[in-house]
C-alpha cells in the first residue's frame, strides 16, 4: 500500500493512499466537526461543517470526502475555517426552532455541540422559516421536519434496508424536506419502524417516541446491550433513570439486517421495567397488540 506524507496543523504524518483528510486527522487525535458524514453510509460532503484549509487549494475543502495527496498541508482550525464553520452554523440556526429548552435531543445534539464549540447563537431575523407540521402518525417515530438540517443521513440509512428506501429528499431549494414515500406521513408510508433513521439523526428531527418526555439526556444512565433474537446481535441502549430502565433505543446499525422491529420489541420487553403496549399496523392503522402476538409466540403459547 502506498503511503502518503501529509502535514495537519503542523504535525507530519503518514497515511495510506485513499485516506480522507478527516480520517487522517482522526489518527492524530484532531476532531473535525461533521454533521452529514456517516462512515460507509453517508459520505456526501453536504453539510460543509467539516471544511478545512488545504494549502494551494482555491477554496476550503470538505475533509470527509477529499482523499489526501502527497505533501498536502492542512489546517483544520485556521481563522478562515472557523469563520466558514460559524457562517454554516448561523445559516442552519436561522432556520431551526430555538427549542433546546425542552427539545428531547438536547445534550446529545450535534448542532448544539458545534454551536457551543464555535460560540454561535440563535439570532433574530426577518427571513423565512420552515413551518411544517410535526408527524406523530407513527407511534415509534416522532418526526419534526422543522428541526431537520437536511444532512441526508436518514435517507442514506433507509436506502440500505432491502426493499425499503422509504425516506427521500422531496421538493427543491428552500422547500427541500425529507419525505416518506410520496410525501406521505410516516404512519401511511411503507416504513416498518426499524428506527435506523432515528439512530443516525444528528439533531432532534427524528426521535424515538418511546424516549420522549421521560427524562433529559443528562439525567439518564446508559448501558449498551446486544439483542439475542437472531445471529446479527444488534446493539441497543438501555436508558436508566434512578436505576430503572425507562426506555430502550436502537444504536447505529451495522451490516446485515439489523434493528428489526421484532428485535427492538424483544429488547424492550426483556429489559424495560415498564414496557409500553406494543402497536402493530393492521389495515394501515396502528393498533394495540399483545406481546405474544407481536413477537410471533401466539402458536407456541397456545400449545403450552
Amino acid at each position: 500500500m502506498k503511503m502518503l506524507n501529509v502535514t495537519i496543523n503542523g504535525t507530519v504524518t503518514q497515511v495510506p493512499e485513499g485516506t480522507t483528510i478527516m480520517q487522517a486527522a482522526a489518527q492524530l487525535g484532531i476532531d473535525i466537526p461533521a454533521l452529514c458524514y456517516l462512515k460507509g453510509v453517508n459520505e456526501v460532503g453536504a453539510c460543509r461543517i467539516c471544511v478545512v484549509e488545504v494549502k494551494g487549494a482555491r477554496t476550503l475543502q470538505a475533509s470527509c470526502v477529499l482523499p489526501v495527496s502527497e505533501g498536502m498541508e492542512i489546517q483544520t482550525e485556521s481563522p478562515s475555517v472557523v469563520t466558514a464553520r460559524k457562517e454554516i452554523l448561523k445559516l442552519i440556526l436561522a432556520n431551526h426552532p430555538n427549542d433546546c429548552l425542552t427539545c428531547n435531543k438536547a445534550g446529545e445534539c450535534k448542532l448544539q455541540e458545534y454551536a457551543y464549540r464555535y460560540d454561535v447563537k440563535f439570532e433574530e431575523h426577518q427571513g423565512e422559516r420552515k413551518n411544517l407540521g410535526i408527524d406523530t402518525s407513527n407511534p415509534y417515530i416522532y418526526r419534526d421536519n422543522n428541526k431537520c438540517i437536511l444532512c441526508g443521513r436518514c435517507v442514506s440509512m433507509c436506502a440500505k434496508v432491502p426493499e425499503r428506501a422509504v425516506l427521500a429528499f422531496g421538493n427543491r431549494g428552500f422547500e427541500t424536506t425529507v419525505v416518506a414515500d410520496n410525501n406521505k406521513t410516516m404512519g401511511e408510508s411503507n416504513c416498518v419502524s426499524c428506527a435506523r433513521c432515528i439512530s443516525v439523526c444528528p439533531v432532534g428531527a427524528l426521535i424515538d417516541s418511546r424516549t420522549m418526555n421521560i427524562a433529559r439526556s443528562w439525567e439518564l444512565q446508559k448501558e449498551d446491550v446486544k439483542c439475542a433474537v437472531c445471529e446479527h446481535g444488534c446493539d441497543f441502549q438501555l436508558l436508566k433513570k434512578n436505576g430503572k430502565v425507562v426506555a430502550v433505543r436502537a444504536l447505529a446499525a451495522g451490516e446485515g439486517r439489523p434493528l428489526c422491529l421484532k428485535g427492538r420489541l424483544t429488547v424492550d420487553l426483556t429489559y424495560n421495567d415498564n414496557p409500553k403496549t406494543p402497536l402493530v399496523k393492521k389495515d394501515g392503522e396502528f393498533v394495540e397488540a399483545t406481546w405474544a402476538e407481536v413477537l410471533g409466540l401466539d402458536k407456541i403459547l397456545g400449545k403450552i
Binding site: L93, N98, D99, C100, L101, T102, A106, G107, Q112, E113, A115, Y116, R117, D119, V120, K121, F122, N213, R216, S217, W218
Partner: protein, 348 residues
C-alpha cells in the same frame, strides 16, 4: 404531631413542618426555585404552590405550615396550570439561550419547563436588557437570566453574612446588585461564590477558561485541602482536568465554601506547580526523589542538633495538614528532636 392528607395519602408530621417538608417525607416532589432548607422561607417564586382544601387561593408549600386535618393536592389541574403560568412568565423575560448557555443541563428553569412542557411565554412583552456584569474576577452576573428567586441575596445575608448584594430598584426594574449599582470590586463582596453555588439558573456563573457542558462532567467528592475545617466539595472534572468546584450540603460546611475552596483549584494543573522535591546542588535546584529529600532533611537536622543542640531547631506546621499529621509533627519535634519550638501557620 399533626395529621394531614397529601394527594390522598395520610401522613403524620411534627408541628411547624411546612407542606413541602411533609410532602418530601412521602416522597412527593414539589418543584422549587427560591426554597433552600438552610434559609428562612421566602415564598417568592410561586412554583411550589399547592391546592389546600378550603383555602381561598393556592398556597406556597415552602412557607405554609401544616395544620390538623389539612387536605393537600400537589399536582391537581389548577396547580399545574398555575405552575405553567409561572414558568411562562419567567421564560417570557428570559433569554432563550439553552443552545450555548453554560448552565444548560443543570438549570432548574430548563428542568421545570421540560417537566411542565412550557416552550415560550407567548406574551411578547418587554425584556430585560442588562450588560453582563463581569466586575468580579471569579464570576459573572447576567441579570437578564435572573429569575429573582433571591437565593443569592439570602445566602449572602443569612449564611455568609457579608451583606454585599441585595435588590436594587423596584417593580420590573428590580435587579440583584451591589448598593447604588457599583461594581463588585467596590463592594463588601469577598468572592466566596456561595451566591454562585445556589443560583438555580444561568445568572451567576463561575468564570473559567475551559469550554464544557454540564453533561460532559464527572463529579468527584473530596475534602477541601486549604485549611483544617475540611469542607466537603465536589470537583467537576472534564476528561482528566478539574474545571470547577461545587460545595456539598453536609457537615461541616453545609453547602458553603470560601473563595479558596470555590475558586482556588487552578493550582492543580498549573505549570508552576511543584510535583517533585528539588535539592540545591552546586548552586542549582535539581529534581530529586522524595527518598533523597527526606534523607537530606534528616541528615541536616541531626547534624544541626549534634552541633548546636535541639533548641537550635524549630518546627512550623501547616493549617493544610490534618489534626493527625499536626499531632505527629509536634511529636517528632518534642520526642525525636527534643525541643518545644513547634508552631503552626494558623491560616493560609
Amino acid at each position: 404531631m399533626v395529621n394531614l392528607t397529601i394527594n390522598g395519602k395520610p401522613v403524620q408530621v411534627e408541628n411547624n413542618t411546612t407542606i413541602l417538608q411533609a410532602a418530601e417525607s412521602l416522597g412527593i416532589e414539589i418543584p422549587t426555585f427560591c426554597y433552600d432548607k438552610r434559609l428562612i422561607g421566602h415564598g417568592a417564586c410561586r412554583i411550589c404552590v399547592v391546592e389546600v382544601k378550603g383555602a381561598k387561593a393556592l398556597q406556597t408549600a415552602c412557607t405554609v405550615p401544616v395544620a390538623e386535618g389539612m387536605i393537600v393536592e400537589t399536582h391537581s389541574p389548577s396547580v399545574i396550570e398555575a405552575r405553567k403560568e409561572t414558568l411562562k412568565l419567567m421564560i417570557e423575560n428570559h433569554p432563550l439561550d439553552c443552545l450555548t448557555c453554560e448552565k444548560s443541563g443543570n438549570c432548574k428553569l430548563q428542568d421545570y419547563c421540560y417537566e411542565y412542557d412550557v416552550k415560550e411565554g407567548g406574551y411578547n412583552g418587554e425584556k430585560k436588557n442588562y450588560p453582563i456584569d463581569d466586575s468580579n474576577p471569579f464570576f459573572t452576573l447576567d441579570r437578564n437570566k435572573c429569575i429573582m428567586c433571591g437565593k443569592c441575596i439570602r445566602v449572602d445575608n443569612e449564611l455568609q453574612c457579608t451583606g454585599a448584594i441585595n435588590y436594587n430598584e423596584r417593580g420590573f426594574d428590580t435587579h440583584v446588585g451591589i448598593p447604588y449599582d457599583r461594581d463588585f470590586e467596590q463592594s463588601a463582596c469577598v468572592s466566596c461564590g456561595n451566591c454562585v453555588s445556589v443560583c438555580p439558573v444561568g445568572a451567576l456563573m463561575p468564570k473559567h477558561p475551559e469550554k464544557f457542558r454540564a453533561w460532559e462532567l464527572r463529579k468527584v467528592k473530596t475534602t477541601c485541602p486549604y485549611c483544617g475545617v475540611g469542607c466537603q466539595m465536589e470537583l467537576l472534572v472534564k476528561g482528566n482536568k478539574v474545571v470547577g468546584v461545587e460545595p456539598v450540603n453536609v457537615d461541616p460546611n453545609n453547602g458553603l465554601l470560601c473563595v479558596k475552596g470555590k475558586f482556588g483549584y487552578r493550582f492543580i494543573d498549573h505549570p508552576d506547580r511543584l510535583k517533585t522535591p528539588y535539592i540545591r546542588k552546586n548552586g542549582e535546584l535539581v529534581e530529586a526523589t522524595w527518598d533523597e529529600a527526606y534523607h537530606l532533611i534528616a541528615e541536616k537536622m541531626l547534624e544541626t542538633k549534634e552541633k548546636y543542640g535541639p533548641n537550635s531547631l524549630g518546627g512550623f506546621s501547616s493549617a493544610r495538614c490534618t489534626n493527625e499529621e499536626n499531632y505527629l509533627f509536634q511529636k517528632l519535634f518534642r520526642a525525636v528532636i527534643g525541643t518545644n519550638n513547634v508552631d503552626h501557620c494558623a491560616r493560609l
